[in-house]
């Protein structure tokens, strides 16, 4: 197992280095940060001064060499716009995103497994039809629309919840509720499909013939075998949340890493872009490692 983790770590490290090199040079190709930091009326001298102060006048390879040297010592540079260490800006935002992703995915996973399994158990029945229809709607509904409708309904009309922000537990309900819908719809469908296949297998028929009750058949015998594809999809959905839920962050005023990344790209705040990509890539690498470990735990064939 340790050897497996080591191999995965080396492969991820190589990907990470490739990613940083690519993003460094691609971001520089988008243009000059001085022209966005300063207004259009700023003089050429002011723009030149800005470039000098931030080392943007040096040849690209010199800038890259300096960046790599700094990264090795743990310094990811300073945000041009915020005059703060880029890593501080990113970790602050990433903490919000991480909590949002953790809570949402925990709720989504629990709910989707139960609903998907029950739908598969009586495939074609009333519950299955309702679950399939709702999951299809959930997987397709645009989150910006859902977010606005949720605010109008629950905040403006019913006055049950605050419109946006992060001040209290109530502030988290709408963003999590909106983020919940799409992965829930997708995972329910995967769980259902995978469980239908598992429930029709010989070992389930044997268990039924032996008089095992429905609960243990679904949640002990079939579910464990049906979980491998489900875990893959959960990983995909969690990765997209870790990259930042831009729409939800924007509408609900959640200071997460997705909006930060988009803003930094648009403002050419290169150090923040690179730091954000580094941090989210590391998080996704760790999550993938976790998923691989889950595979190994669930399926002895992978372990051995």
């Amino acid at each position: 197992m340790l050897s497996f983790i080591r191999k995965r770590s080396v492969a991820s490290l190589i990907s990470l280095v490739g990613l940083i090199v690519m993003v460094f040079f691609l971001s520089r190709m988008t243009g000059d940060p001085a022209s966005l930091f300063l207004p259009v009326e700023a003089s050429a001298e002011m723009k030149q001064q800005f470039r000098e102060l931030h080392g943007l006048n040096d040849p690209l390879l010199v800038q890259f060499g300096r960046y790599v040297g700094d990264v090795v010592t743990g310094d990811l540079g300073e945000s041009y716009r915020k005059a703060r260490p880029a890593l501080d800006v990113v970790t602050e935002a990433f903490t919000w995103t991480l909590w949002l992703a953790l809570i949402t995915m925990s709720l989504v996973t629990s709910a989707a497994i139960v609903v998907g399994s029950l739908a598969a158990f009586r495939s074609g029945g009333f519950f299955d039809r309702i679950a399939s229809m709702l999951s299809l709607i959930g997987a397709s509904v645009p989150d910006f629309w859902l977010a606005i409708v949720a605010i109008v309904l629950f905040s403006v009309n019913l006055a049950w919840l605050p419109t946006s922000g992060t001040g209290s537990v109530l502030h988290w309900i709408l963003p999590i509720g909106v983020l919940f819908v799409r992965p829930f719809g997708i995972i329910v469908q995967v769980v259902r499909g995978s469980m239908i296949s598992a429930l029709s297998s010989a070992y389930v028929k044997t268990a039924r013939a032996k008089g095992v009750r429905s609960g243990p058949i679904i949640f002990i015998h079939a579910l464990r075998n049906a979980m491998l594809p489900v875990i893959t999809v959960i990983g995909d959905q969690a990765a997209s949340l870790l990259n930042g839920a831009v729409v939800v962050e924007t509408i609900f005023g959640f200071p997460g890493v997705g909006k930060l990344m988009i803003d930094s790209i648009l403002q050419r705040d290169f150090n923040v872009v690179l730091a954000a990509i580094l941090v989210t890539a590391l998080a996704i690498f760790l999550m993938n490692l976790l998923i691989d470990l889950c595979y190994a735990l669930l399926d002895p064939r992978i372990r051995h």
Partner: protein, 503 residues
């Protein structure tokens, strides 16, 4: 155990209550929701709107300020009075008994240091752009008097001083995130991404404002900002969308100092011909946009500066919508050998202002109806800058750059050089008479200054036909009924809390 449970329940209850409690305007504490968070709260960057709206004249004050509500012009703030010396320099007499929020006493050395910071090459202060091409020398006469000399002599230096925020002498030559100022408020909390809180100072030199505490919240979506004021989560949003401005009791429009226009590149045929430029202006039905794609309160523009600006010329009239006249001018130009059939490209910026896509498409259709061949190209902000500002690309075709220009500063000098002088960064032409008028108007004072700006505005519009001026835009604000506040033309860049009353 029981005690713990009760305490937990009380804390949870309080937390839930705080989430739904309305903004507490009656107590003097208000909440303001803005579209964009300040990146940093650096006083020398306060001319940038997302920073200025929070700290300008609230935390950091200036020597002078422009009266945007009345017609008093430049008014005293930290300077009580000023006069021009015989050598052209300006002497400012500073207010006494003023303290910074860190307790230090304000004096002339602070003004000198503030200027040194703005002009320093160790940081890139945005305020420096207003002093481009000038050499500035400051001379501390005594603790309460300072001479500021500019080369060349700057007749509107007192107005320019309304853009230089004063910091204590101890402020380092690097960007700060916790501003120290002489204003009525001090920064008490900044939780990045969430809120900024300003609270009143007991030792402020001026009148105590009604608002004792202002919490700034940031929401990018205009519907959410409007909903927050509606539900009581905030008391004021100075910028909501026109679609959300539906409640006459709380929502109103205000002229917001932005002017939309098409910058004409006079260097490339057929746009180098004045008949073609006139035809462009005649072909557009500006009136048809008002109340449809452009808010009803918008004003048709005859100058790049809004009507509240010094020297704005009421005698200059908009071009009428006259397609026949446009066609006739095009035919004349064609007969004279001007290649009027060359396709002209309108370059517009995505999301530059509400309905920009539809407005540009309508303009394209109107120009085509008059006989122009027009293409429309939308680009993002950074690419737009490469079309809008010099150096212009070699080998480019004829272009009209759709842009929006903001001047709430009360004087055309903040616009005219950049937009129309031969060396102006966004100027699409070179005309010696325009250069001369800009130079003379910039150096003039009083009525002569206003007269020269008026003359320039008329010459640019009627004779040069410098560009296609479209609209002075309006913004929409939602203000809680608990507040007594009306936005002004400066609200885009500055939101003085002391101007907000509580009913």
């Amino acid at each position: 155990m029981k005690k713990t449970l009760i305490s937990g329940a009380l804390i949870a209850g309080a937390t839930l209550f705080s989430a739904l409690s309305p903004a507490l305007a009656a107590s003097g504490a208000i909440k303001i929701v803005l579209p964009e968070e300040a990146d940093l709260l650096e006083p020398c960057m306060a001319t940038r709107s997302n920073i200025g709206r929070i700290i300008m004249e609230n935390v950091s004050e200036t020597l002078t300020e422009l009266d945007v509500r009345g017609k008093k012009g430049v008014m005293p703030r930290l300077a009580e009075k000023w006069e021009q010396n015989a050598d052209g320099s300006w002497r400012f007499h500073l207010r006494q008994g003023v303290k910074f929020s860190d307790g230090t006493v304000f004096d002339a050395k602070d003004v000198k240091h503030s200027f040194d910071r703005v002009m320093s090459d160790k940081i890139t202060c945005e305020a420096k752009r207003y002093f481009g091409g000038m050499t500035i020398t400051t001379n501390v006469v005594d603790d309460n008097t300072i001479d500021i000399k500019t080369q060349p002599v700057q007749p509107i230096l007192p107005l320019l001083m309304s853009l230089v925020t004063i910091v204590p002498e101890s402020t380092p030559m690097q960007f700060v995130r916790e501003p120290v100022g002489t204003g009525p408020y001090k920064l008490t909390n900044w939780t990045p991404g969430q809120q900024i809180v300003l609270e009143t100072r007991e030792d402020y030199w001026g009148k105590k404002p009604s608002v004792t505490k202002a919490t700034y919240l940031f929401r990018a979506d205009p519907s959410v900002r409007a909903a927050m004021v509606q539900t009581g989560e905030a008391d004021l949003s100075p910028s909501i969308s026109q679609l959300d401005a539906t409640n006459p009791k709380t929502d109103f429009s205000y002229l917001d100092s932005e002017t939309v226009y098409l910058r004409i590149d006079h260097n490339i045929a057929p746009l180098n011909d004045v008949r073609v430029r006139k035809a462009l202006n005649l072909a557009i039905d500006r009136q048809a946009f008002l109340g449809t794609l452009v808010p009803e309160g918008a004003v048709l523009a005859t100058a790049i500066v809004p009507p509240t600006t010094l020297g704005w010329n009421p005698d200059v009239k908009q071009f009428p919508h006259d397609v026949a006249a446009a066609k006739k001018l095009l035919a004349e130009a064609k007969a004279a050998g001007v290649p009027v059939e060359t396709p002209i490209t309108i370059i517009a910026r995505t999301a530059n202002f509400p309905n920009v896509t539809e407005i540009m498409e309508a303009i394209q259709a109107q120009l085509q109806e008059a006989g122009f061949k027009v293409e429309l190209k939308f680009v993002e902000v950074a690419e737009h800058e490469t079309y809008y500002s010099k150096p212009f690309k070699e080998g480019r075709g004829p272009q009209l750059v759709a842009a929006m220009h903001d001047n709430s500063k009360g004087d055309p000098s903040f616009s005219m050089f950049f937009k129309y002088a031969s060396k102006g960064t966004q100027s699409g032409f070179s005309d010696p008479k325009v250069d001369d008028l800009i130079q003379r108007a910039s150096a003039a004072v009083g009525d002569e200054r206003a007269r020269l700006w008026s003359q320039l505005i008329a010459y640019l519009h009627d004779d040069v036909v410098a560009d296609v001026l479209l609209f002075h835009m309006v913004g929409f604000a939602r203000v809680s009924e608990k507040l007594d506040f009306k936005p002004t033309i400066a609200t885009n860049s500055m939101l003085q809390l002391s101007e907000i009353g509580i009913r």
